[in-house]
């Protein structure tokens, strides 16, 4: 649970860091003034020797952060701010995405039902496929029953036959 503790002490860590850096710059400035430099010159030299204080403080704070999570969170906040600034654009985007997602879902539901959904029987490994393309439109049931009887004779080990004519009507004969 160290990370939870760190989350709560982070503010204090940031304050400690600011205090340390400020003290560093002030102490260095004072020492340079004791060497005879003007306050202005001493401050400038102290800052130059230290480096970019703002950047260094930022880099130091990163030790207490989760860079990936916090950068995603910053992106989300930025995105929401931008959307609030341009409500017309935001509505257009939301409607476009809603329609796109809706249409995609509808098409997928159809394809899934027709092509992908498994047959309503268990033990699918015992199923045999029989091409009934030659089946005539006039006598489908009779034809299917005749073929079924023939196939049952041929595949005695098969557990069941399914007269399958579409996703909603499958008949099982054993």
């Amino acid at each position: 649970m160290r990370w939870v503790r760190q989350l709560f002490t982070r503010r204090r860590r940031y304050d400690d860091l600011s205090i340390s850096i400020r003290e560093h710059l002030e102490e260095k400035t004072e020492e340079l003034m004791e060497e005879g430099l003007s306050r202005e010159e001493a401050t400038r030299r102290a800052r130059k020797d230290f480096g970019n204080a703002t950047l260094i403080e930022e880099q130091s704070r990163e030790a207490w952060q989760w860079p990936a999570v916090e950068s995603i969170w910053a992106d989300v906040k930025y995105g929401l701010r931008q959307l609030r600034k341009a409500p017309g654009f935001a509505i257009a985007v939301v409607v476009t995405m809603a329609l796109g997602i809706g249409a995609n879902t509808a098409i997928f539901t159809l394809v899934h039902a027709v092509q992908m959904k498994s047959l309503p029987v268990s033990l699918t490994s015992g199923l045999q496929s029989e091409n009934a393309r030659r089946q005539t439109a006039a006598k489908p049931k009779k034809f299917a029953a005749r073929r079924g009887r023939r196939l049952r004779a041929e595949f005695r080990s098969a557990l069941a036959f399914v007269h399958y004519s579409g996703p909603s009507s499958a008949r099982l004969t054993s």
Binding site: I21, I56, A63
Partner: protein
């Protein structure tokens, strides 16, 4: 501190090792630590003062150091850094690994060129 082109960058972990070692000697605040390392190393090492602070925060997070409120030599409020037991162990590991590396490089450099 202006960068001298004759000086090379420190290897990774070198600053941390020197900080841990200096704080084992005695607890110090940031500026005192920089001054100590600069004075002891003389002109041999060029350390940008600010680079110390990200390293200190990483070491605090690892639990190698802890910090408490204190007063600087000039009487200003600051934070004093101190080595922990974990930091002491880390320093021993770092020094041992550094000595092995240095011994290896020294051996290679000691072989006379043909």
């Amino acid at each position: 501190m202006a960068r001298n082109p004759d000086h090379r960058e420190l290897f990774s972990g070198a600053l941390e090792m020197m900080v841990l070692h200096s704080l084992r000697w005695k607890p110090m605040h940031g500026y005192a630590l920089v001054k100590h390392i600069q004075q002891v190393s003389g002109e041999l090492l060029q350390i940008q003062e600010g680079s110390l602070y990200p390293a200190l925060q990483r070491m605090l997070k690892e639990g190698w150091l802890d910090s408490k409120a204190g007063i600087s030599a000039k009487g200003r409020p600051t934070r004093i850094y101190r080595l922990t037991t974990a930091g002491r162990r880390r320093l021993e590991q770092e020094v041992s690994s550094f000595e092995k590396m240095l011994a290896g490089i020294t051996r290679v450099l000691a072989v006379a060129a043909h």
